[in-house]
Symmetry: C2
Subunit: 554 residues, 2 copies
């Protein structure tokens, strides 16, 4: 076997970690790295703009357990920062590889193109949004540094950063150490026993316990354990919007997505009437829990918040208790099994539209009903921020882990690049992207990459003529956008098929044609400007009630 | 007069600083700030994607002396980081305003949407690319903080950062202090005398001195002083690509753009044969000076490097000598005036294409010749990275300060958003943008904003079917891009006029039509895939010579 260079080792190692694709855009400092990538077993998906590269690799990471974005120094890396911040916030195992200047030049006080303040500016910035970083200044230590960063990414499920100087990448790799061994952290034994004792007592005292299965379960491979706990003791489950679909939405113990007044009413009622919330892998976020006052909604006294960072039951916290160990012990603990609970099952299988409904101007509600009737078990959905996401609470998916959104970080522009990532990760799946017109104007142009690589996502642009969700909060001329002729995009690209639909009938026809076609499909769904999803409508009604209450009080 | 809020004070203060426009994209944390902006005397240019917002505001800042970009917390701010890094690297006085969470929430350990790691993550990141930053947590100190940051931006000509919590923006502003006074720094008197003495001796000993007038002159308002020095002593001048047009290219002492082998041969010869380089406001960058060895090209012994950060003559440096003071004293120093030197004047007025040339497939060289014949004194040019920029060395402009590029930082995607900024800053000027196809695929979609606001830039997309300059360095499939039908963009926008030209005849016709029209014009210029500018060709020949030399040596 020939001696590895730093570059060939890096991509060979990534391949052995199960990575099949790298998303990227080259630049001069990164070109030699791209050459090694080209010679490796990895496929390169070159895209048009770095913000999209990050989102695509993030989506791939969520599906595969490791995703890779490769860009050039500063002008590429800093342009991708927001997407990597999103991956950090939502715990996606994303590796950022960037080209960089030579160690020789870094010793000089030189104004090198792409340099911002010092040669370390990019790494210092990335240290804010990654769990580990390195600059491969020395080929002797490069292998161990590469392995250290990738191991940290997998352990913490957060992004990591490897900067590869354009000359070092061609040098023979030095010492290759053995694979880092994962030492699973152990709980403090007595704290664990105390927490278990309190957990069992709390659960057994509860009349209506609920498991809130959140995103950390997915990121740390703990969903099966959570399912075992639910099934053994017959405890119903909800997800959050961030974890939607990590539990199959057809599971008999699954009730739906809980997120305060955005939830379907039956789910909201059941969860808020529950006297014990077992929140596993929870992200206690403002939008989904604290929105208009968590404390009033969820009984904090009996909430069990179990995450990789904090363990808490009611007002008591438990140091050094490991989530996985706690869950394993909970499974064999003397929790009394319930009889099969009578629970809601949402989203319900949607009703087909009546002939009258089909002929009306299409609404977001009708859009989701029609889409829900056509989603199969091998379909993946990427969903952008805004009312597309709120509306998706009512969209019934058919299998687990097939709904991707940045529902915590809520950066607009996620869905189309994420669809590119999902197409690469699951080439046999059909990928649907749902995106509002404002978010689409940010990164929708990345459909160019779908055409370039023969990917076939079906993309719905929900056109409500502007930043609809923001209008809901505070309106002004700044929420207006230019009304594009979205269907012209496929002519711009010279590939793909466009549709524009204004009624349910047209939507059904377009969706059927898209599913039957073997190309990328863009479907512009024109909804009324003041239309909103049933979820957002519920929030509006709740806000109205609050205002009335305030008025009476004031 | 009614009491100012934090928001109304901020925009009123900016208006009094001469700002007329703010570039931005709203988001929930920034909506109340946008409402105050809407009620102010400023015009809001809402765009489609944050990376473009930063470039547009940067261009506006370069023209106006202060530019403002307003975006939302993290998902907006971090998405604009690369553009602000560009402004930092190239010393553009750009103010970033971002929405932010409430001081009340910042005290809690809360997972707030858009938050990455801590509430301070965005500010810490921005501290790497700004000269001053603040979070307006307290309305009592808000006015002095706003004034401090804006004063720092103007003093250092670097970006600054103001984060405005969404609730604080509505609160009554507290104490408004008097305007900060600018205390001009003074030189160490003896060091200054010593440097002047050495400078005069060096200049007077030189046979062929040259002034290299670089970008800091423009940023700190010192160009007139540099011109006075040149004119008083009859010393010829060159600019760099970064400072192209800060000296009018028709000035009798102006020789052209110097940047090593990229320069026109006559200019390169004159500068490299000079025995004294007075480098005023210099950026000693790798691409323009160090490219293939500065030390061999410029006589370091007699180079006078004079910047706001460092003063150096030959091997000696002078602490605490202020650039402006030094230049003022130089003007009245006993430098002996030269007789009018015999110097090259480039770029020369271009030759009209012959009939035969016009019918050939158009090249980059022909493109610049035709454009050069049509540029007038009220035209502004924005130019993107790549061979568009190298080729622009040969483009003769008609007045000063009308050529904008990010020629040091070299981020692709600058020219189209910068054209939006220039259109807002100089509504009476005609704005030309020159951009390669790769860079255009990054941010060209921002022409949507030109259509939305009735701006009329003329945009040339130089289509050489991929990342041409990178092919020149290291080729591979990663330099391929999808071949768009660029002329379809105006149909997508429902506004503007498109042209596609493949010969000089077509280019002339399209350019004339564009100049006569009152709409945005997009002209796709199809050049051969292997075409390159005369500048890049010169570099290629020089590289070839170096390789031959290496071979003979090796």
């Amino acid at each position: 076997m020939t001696q590895h260079t730093v570059g060939s080792f890096l991509f060979d190692y990534l391949h052995r970690q199960g990575v099949g694709h790298v998303f990227g855009i080259p630049g001069d400092f990164a070109l030699p790295t791209f050459r090694w990538m080209q010679q490796s077993k990895l496929d390169i998906i070159t895209m048009t703009h770095e913000p999209s590269v990050g989102f695509a690799a993030d989506a791939y990471a969520r599906i595969h357990g490791l995703g890779v974005a490769c860009v050039t120094y500063c002008v590429g890396g800093l342009n991708m920062l927001n997407s990597v911040a999103c991956a950090y916030a939502e715990k996606s195992p994303l590796l950022v590889i960037t080209g960089g200047p030579s160690p020789v030049d870094r010793k000089k006080d030189l104004l090198m193109h792409h340099k911002v303040r010092t040669f370390d500016t990019q790494q210092r910035i990335y240290d804010e949004v990654t769990c580990a970083s390195t600059v491969l200044l020395d080929p002797q230590t490069a292998a161990s540094e590469i392995m250290r960063v990738i191991h940290a990414i997998k352990t913490h499920s957060r992004p990591g950063y490897i900067e590869v100087p354009f000359d070092v990448v061609d040098m023979p790799i030095g010492h290759i150490p053995p694979e880092p061994t994962t030492i699973k952290p152990l709980s403090d034994a007595e704290n664990l026993e105390a927490m278990l004792e309190d957990a069992v007592a709390t659960m057994n005292a509860a009349k209506q316990p609920v498991i809130i299965a959140d995103i950390e379960l997915h990121r740390h491979g703990l969903t099966p354990l959570a399912l075992s706990i639910a099934e053994k003791f017959n405890i119903p489950m909800v997800s959050t919007l961030l974890s939607k679909s990590i539990i199959s939405e057809t599971h008999p113990l699954y009730m739906g997505v809980y997120s305060g007044p955005l939830s379907e009413s039956k789910v909201q009622k059941y969860v808020e009437e529950s006297d014990c919330h077992l929140m596993l892998g929870a992200y206690i976020t403002d939008v989904w829990f604290a929105f208009m006052g968590t404390s009033e909604r969820l009984n904090r006294k009996r909430a069990m918040v179990c995450t990789t960072e904090k363990m808490q039951i009611g007002y008591r916290t438990y140091d050094d208790v490991v989530l996985e160990e706690f869950m394993q012990r909970l499974l064999t603990s003397p929790i009394k099994p319930r009889s099969a609970p009578s629970i809601p099952h949402t989203p319900e299988k949607p009703e087909p539209l009546s002939a009258a409904e089909k002929s009306e101007p299409i609404t977001l509600n009708h859009f989701f009903r029609i889409l829900g009737l056509h989603i199969g078990p091998n379909d993946t959905i990427t969903c952008d921020t805004g009312d597309a996401l709120f509306g998706a609470i009512g969209l019934r998916t058919q299998t687990s882990n097939n709904f991707l959104s940045d529902a915590y970080y809520l950066s607009m522009g996620f869905a189309v690049p994420a669809a590119i990532g999902a197409c690469a990760a699951q080439p046999k799946n059909r990928v649907f992207a749902i995106v509002g017109d404002g978010a689409f104007q940010m990164t929708g142009i990345e459909l160019s990459t779908a055409v370039k690589f023969g990917m076939k996502p079906i993309v719905f642009v929900i056109n409500n003529d502007g930043y609809g969700t923001q209008r809901f909060i505070l309106d002004g001329p700044f929420n207006e956008i230019l009304r594009w002729n979205y269907t012209k995009l496929t002519e711009l690209f010279g590939g793909g098929i466009s549709h524009r639909v204004t009624t349910g009938t047209e939507m059904e026809a377009a969706l059927k044609a898209a599913i039957a076609s073997d190309q990328m499909n863009l479907i512009e769904v024109v909804v009324p400007r003041d239309d909103c999803s049933p979820s957002l409508k519920r929030v509006g009604e709740e806000l109205g009630k609050l205002r009335d209450k305030d008025k009476r009080a004031g």
